[in-house]
């Protein structure tokens, strides 16, 4: 070994020794480990001052009070507002993850105009002035061409200032085609209209009931005001009250119920009427209520002396437990015992409207179930159904109409809601697509305004809805998020999210007291968005004339303040206005029917369809081609309304609902065996209106011949955390117009399932 080599070696050894005695290796090791503890790309949320802002959640009609936790200017958590009359501190999964909508990746950040093909996703950001001008110009053009009726409008909620502004706009503009999303609330409203003679929404004093029979209502799956119902359910458990769930599938409600009555799907009304049969036959009904406050129980005679069968005759003539059993599949003795327990309870209550109640239902069914409440006198009393007057605080004078408006308003509606066929119904959003596609109104629809609704996703027979959309030249969306409808729009005028805007929130569905809430800005607007009321007023003013004149307010907030009048101060302070000492009207004053009594039997039954009642409600498809019945099911973990699942919610979707991008269809093992299908196998699900790839999940929670798919999946726009997963069940179903209301009463559809 030569000297150079050895010297070099010595240098290295000296270097190593020196290095080891210097801080370098040790500090570097330590620092590198610290570097891994919080990598430069790991977000470190800044701390700051904590504060809490109370507001109202508007993600569903539940109207829960929320308390938003903030750190300086950031909202970091949404919690239920303690002491709030609706939810008292509780919160649902959607509400709890609402910040993922506020800060979500699919926010529409500024007004946008489509530049590519529709739905291609190519947009240009424009200024608010440009956006308002573009909308106004287009609408003015249609109007001056003499076709104001050719503009339609869809809103989510029916009540409150914003829907009323849209309604006012449509009136001033001259179009009869104002529509709102329909739900069981609409069916209930018509029911109360017919049986109570009131323009009212139902309030359920559920917490105080002691024997609840639910006809398919997802009492703990989002029906009514979800958190309120959860609290009621908890109270029933604490106080040993009884819940009976009538439903073809073992839903969560059925599982939690004290008794699950596995009924044949679509025959709930038969079961209700058969219970009525037992109650009447065995004289178990509330004699005083029926005798003094009810009409058409016994056979009755009209002014001309013609005799009509009363409810009693009608029920006793066709709905014996033995007969009903054949249709419903429920054991006659069970029907009898159920009826006896119901009538024998101190505070019985019957509920209906399937699942979350996102779609209306058969009016006959609603009336049959409500008649049960009538039989036991569970009307306007503790533990019963209360008729609460619809919110009436919007009392603006009618807008002045010009010639064009008057002419337009004379035209028939596209959705078929007016005229003789459906006298009780204001709008039929599910009939819109058919009306557009068939041109039945006699004029074309040229423009559509959509606010707070996502019809391309939520309406059944999505293909027909899409076709209708494609034929409409100009679609304006006011959505805060790039949802399915916004993605197909031509112009988006993004609204603030509910956490950035001030807006009134009318009474939550199902609450048994009149309440007005107000949501308020929790954080300043995160993007260049605008309260939709201001956008709409901007368009109207830009158009000028009588349309502009109809909106004399300086701003939406000025309008809101004026509308709320004396309530404003309380709403600003508390976010809610409660009539604390509210009591329902007594039986003597409660009914405004011609007889001034509870109407057991109404004109709605006189459509010559009494016989149909003794059968399964109509669904689409022929049994020969489609041997199975597909029913949708709702889950709290799957938002199925206009708003889609947040990332947090998507995380909670159960392993028997979704695997990667495939949805599981629930199939009874015997059904699956007959189709040669096994757990997890890919299958093709076909209905008369569509087909889809699904996976089979064997479930003993569903009967033979029935299969079930979850709602809320199959989004195609929206964030990657939910889009592209599963199937939109609305795409596989088609609406079935209820003979009384015209609203969508489809509860299922015939289907077939085959190995793929």
């Amino acid at each position: 070994m030569n000297i150079a080599r050895r010297s070099f070696l010595a240098f290295l050894i000296g270097g190593a020794a020196g290095t080891a005695l210097s801080p370098l290796p040790w500090k570097l090791t330590d620092d590198l480990s610290i570097w891994t503890q919080t990598w430069p790309w790991t977000p470190v949320p800044p701390d700051g001052e904590y504060s809490y802002v109370n507001s109202v959640c508007t993600l569903c009609p539940g109207g829960c009070g929320i308390t938003v936790r903030k750190v300086d200017n950031r909202a970091v958590k949404i919690e239920g507002m303690a002491g709030h009359p609706v939810n008292d501190g509780g919160i649902c999964i959607l509400g709890a993850s609402g910040l993922q909508l506020l800060y979500g990746p699919r926010r529409v950040k500024a007004p946008m105009r489509r530049v590519g093909e529709r739905g291609e996703g190519k947009w240009e950001t424009i200024s608010w002035d440009e956006a308002i001008a573009a909308a106004a110009e287009k609408l003015e053009g249609i109007r001056s061409a003499g076709n104001p009726q050719g503009v339609a409008c869809m809103v989510g909620d029916r009540y409150g200032t914003v829907p009323s502004l849209f309604e006012r706009f449509m009136t001033a503009y001259g179009s009869p085609n104002f529509m709102s999303d329909a739900a069981i609330e609409d069916s209930y409203r018509i029911t109360l209209n017919l049986m109570h003679g009131k323009n009212a929404i139902p309030g359920f004093d559920a917490g105080n009931a002691d024997f609840v029979v639910s006809f398919g209502s997802g009492v703990i799956e989002g029906w009514g005001s979800p958190v309120r119902m959860f609290l009621a359910h908890g109270k029933w458990k604490d106080e040993n009250k009884t819940l009976v769930q009538v439903e073809p599938r073992l839903s969560n409600t059925a599982a939690k119920a004290d008794k699950w009555v596995a009924v044949q799907p679509g025959t709930e009304a038969v079961l209700a009427l058969s219970m009525a049969y037992v109650i009447i036959k065995e004289n178990l009904y509330d004699k005083s209520f029926v005798a003094e406050n009810a009409a058409a129980f016994e056979d009755w005679r009209d002014d001309e002396g013609k005799t009509y069968p009363g409810f009693k005759t009608f029920v006793l003539n066709g709905f014996s437990p033995a007969d009903a059993s054949k249709v419903t599949g429920v054991d006659p003795s069970l029907i009898v015992s159920l009826a006896r327990s119901f009538a024998g309870a101190e505070k019985p209550l019957a509920l209906c409207g399937r699942g979350k109640g996102n779609t209306p239902g058969s009016l006959h069914e609603f009336m049959a179930v409500h008649a049960l409440n009538g039989l036991v006198g569970a009307i306007n009393r503790p533990g019963g159904v209360w008729a609460i007057d619809v919110p009436d605080y919007v009392t603006w004078p009618k807008p002045g109409l010009d010639e064009a408006a008057r002419a337009g308003l004379e035209k028939p509606r596209v959705d078929g809601a007016d005229g003789g066929a459906y006298p009780y119904t204001e709008s039929i959003i599910s009939g819109f697509a058919d009306g557009v596609n068939s041109g039945s109104a006699g004029y074309g629809v040229e423009a559509l305004l959509v606010s707070g609704a996502n019809p391309l996703y939520t309406l059944r027979d999505a293909q027909a809805v899409r076709k209708a959309f494609d034929s409409i030249g100009f679609v304006v969306s006011f959505s805060s998020y790039m949802d399915e409808t916004a993605a197909q729009a031509d112009l988006i005028l993004p609204n603030h999210t509910y956490l950035e805007r001030r807006q009134d929130v009318p009474a939550p569905f199902g609450l048994n007291m009149p309440v007005i809430g107000m949501s308020r800005p929790v954080v300043p607007p995160q993007f260049d968005t605008r309260q939709v009321g201001d956008s709409l007023m901007g368009i109207a003013r830009k158009m000028g004339g009588s349309v502009g004149d109809a909106f004399g307010w300086e701003s939406y907030e000025a309008c809101l303040k004026e509308t709320m009048g004396a309530a404003w101060e309380t709403l600003e302070k508390d976010g809610i206005l409660v009539k604390a000492d509210y009591a329902p009207e007594g039986w003597g004053e409660a009914f405004n029917t011609p007889s001034k009594k509870f109407q057991f039997f109404t004109g709605a039954y006189r459509h010559g369809e009494n016989k149909d009642l003794m059968s399964q409600m109509k669904i689409e498809g022929e049994a020969a081609d489609f041997p199975l019945i597909l029913i949708p099911y709702d889950s709290m973990r799957l938002a199925s309304g206009p708003v889609a699942d947040t990332p947090f919610m998507a995380k909670t979707i159960e392993e028997d609902v979704l695997i990667h991008d495939d949805v599981y269809v629930q199939v009874n093992p015997a059904t699956a065996a007959s189709l040669n299908l096994r757990e997890g196998k890919v299958a093709e699900l076909t209905t008369p209106v569509g087909k889809a790839r699904v996976r089979v999940h064997l479930s003993e929670g569903i009967g033979e011949g029935v299969i079930a798919l979850p709602t809320g999946l199959g989004h195609w726009a929206n964030s990657k955390y939910i889009a592209g997963k599963g199937v939109n069940v609305n795409r596989l179903m088609s609406p079935v117009a209820d003979p009384v209301s015209g609203l969508d009463a489809a509860w299922g559809i015939r289907a077939k399932l085959a190995r793929a």
Binding site: T36, R74, G90, L94, P105, K256, F648, E700
Partner: protein, 263 residues
């Protein structure tokens, strides 16, 4: 110079979950995720890869239609006391990244100490421990909702439910500020307890006679998961259904009905 330290009776925080009330709605899970900066990914359908500190299990009774029944069972970390604080996971951690405090009875997990050997996951029969297989990524803008009270975890470490211990820390700030000695029952509640819309979850000090959990844990239908293993968990469940209680532990065929035990 220094005042006397806070000397208060040791707490044993625990939870009682009423399975009769639990609706399986998942609000507790979302509240937990929002509270604790739990990350999410595009595909969360493989539950063995999905981080859910509080996971709601679905139990089935195995019977045929229409006698089938299901029950939801929310499973946070059990904060096992084991034998005198030796919970299954704590003693196995080679780097003392997880610890049991005699002061609160809470099993802590320190993400910056953990180096990801996952021995604790192997030790835990409840699967409450979750590994960060990926670096968490929030879509642009969503990092605004991250809470400063809980550290954001990086890839390669184990995380789990802490009984929202940071809420205890925050509540204690006020207690100290107001010069009080003790935390009131409602001042420290976990995010899931607070969120539960069915009021199915009760949280408090199992040692404290005045706390609701103290009484509830002695409910005749109360049971704990896998008690026979000696994990000594601090989460109690209540179910009026025998089949649910029986699924709370493993029993040999010849072992009789699950009867209520006194605690």
């Amino acid at each position: 110079m220094k005042k006397a330290q806070e000397h208060t009776a040791p707490k044993k925080y625990g939870m009682v979950i009423d399975l009769d009330k639990c609706t399986g709605c998942g609000a507790c899970m979302a509240a937990c995720m929002a509270e604790n900066n739990v990350p999410f990914r595009e595909d969360e359908t493989d539950k063995n890869l999905s981080i859910t500190w509080l996971r709601v299990y679905k139990l089935t009774n195995g019977k045929k239609f229409p006698n089938a029944d299901v029950c939801y069972l929310p499973r946070p970390c059990m904060h096992c006391e084991g034998h005198h604080g030796h919970s299954p996971c704590v003693s196995v951690c080679p780097a003392t990244a997880t610890d049991y405090s005699y002061d609160t009875g809470i099993v802590s997990q320190i993400y910056t100490r953990c180096f990801g050997c996952r021995y604790c996951m192997a030790a835990c029969p409840y699967h409450v421990r979750y590994f960060n297989w990926w670096d968490p990524v929030w879509p642009e803008g969503m990092e605004k909702m991250l809470s400063p009270n809980v550290s954001v975890r990086t890839r390669g470490v184990v995380e789990k439910c802490s009984f929202c211990f940071h809420r205890y820390q925050i509540a204690m700030e006020k207690v100290r500020y107001e010069g009080r000695a003790e935390l009131a029952e409602d001042e420290y509640q976990t995010a899931c307890t607070q969120a539960c819309p069915a009021n199915a979850i009760t949280f408090g000090d199992l040692n404290n006679h005045d706390h609701a959990v103290y009484k509830l844990k002695t409910h005749p239908d109360a049971f704990r998961l896998l008690e026979r293993l000696g994990t000594n968990p601090k989460v109690y469940y209540i179910s009026s259904r025998e089949w649910v209680r029986r699924q709370g532990d493993n029993y040999l065929e010849n072992e009789g009905k699950v009867v209520a035990k006194a605690h």
